[in-house]
Amino acid sequence: MNIKEIEQLIERYYEGETTLAEETLLKEFFSGDDVPEYLRQHQPIFRYFADEVSRTLNNEEQEKVLLRRIGQFEKEVSGSGMQPVQKRMYYLSGIAAGLLILFGLVFTFKNELSKRNHAGLVNPSTEVAYTQTKQALLLVSVGLNTGFDAVQRLNTLNNAMGQIQKINKFYNYQNQFINPERMQDPSTNK
């Protein structure tokens, strides 16, 4: 690379038009000792950049801390090596516990419900039904008795009517004997 090309590169460098490869060429050129006097003014810039890029996280202590930290990562990783199985067990136990609680709840609820049916719901209702039926039957029997009284009165009436019919018969016979013409009239005869 001749000096003319270097000059052009420097101009394009300040215009921000050089590529990374060209900038590397410039850095290499200025790191050498054969830089012509009239280009020396640019040398510190490229030297500075070269110096800076060689600056590393040099502090040994820092490096150790960093490696220890990454060592901690490793523990985490080896822990998570068993993770798939552990995770599955974890979830399974969770599901099992959930089901257990669900079944438990269902059973206790059922028991509670049936207990309530025996103690609270069925007994009072049957008692009430029993007394109510009893009362209803009583009412019917009382009503029936009063009915019988009335029917017995009817019987007396019947007896009385029977006696009256005897009187009727007597009248009929009387009529036959006293007034035979009337006997021949069918409308009054029985």
Binding site: Y13, Y14, E15, G16, E17, L20, E23, T24, Q41, H42, Q43, P44, I45, R47, Y48, F49, D51, E52, V53, R55, T56, L57, N59, Q62, V65, L66, R69, I70, F73, E74, V77
Partner: protein
Amino acid sequence: MNLQDFNTKVYPLKDKIFRFAKRMLDQTEEAEDLVQEVFIRMWKIREKLDEYRSLEALAMVTTKNLCLDKLKARKFPVESFNDQRQFIERIAEEPRSDHSDLITGVKEAMNSLPEQSRLIVHLRDIEGYEFGEISEILGMQENAIRVALSRARQRIREILVNSRNHEYQRN
């Protein structure tokens, strides 16, 4: 992504992350701590890392965001004791040469740039990223990056020329 992948794909980014964090925070110790934070963040989403087109861009974006949080949390600008100490030590040890002086001048010129331009120069001239990658990291249009980069480079050159002229005048 398992630990082995993490070690081969993410861990080597530590120096780039460190340099970027140091550029933003201007404080060595904080930058060192930040590297760890970035790794922890990346490790936490290791299951999803394969979905990212570029792990490096992701790491750099994470670095940038964490640094911005750190900068926002700063109540007072932290003086970089660490860097001052290093600077003083270097002055004491090395015989003052023109050369290292000039390089320090570039550093100062960089620091005088607005943050965005400084980060663009860092990502391009120090880390050697393509414009597309820088656009991804900084969330800027490529054209805007080109323009800002060109201005920043010219600005650095100006500052260096001016300081040299001052030296000549003093001499």
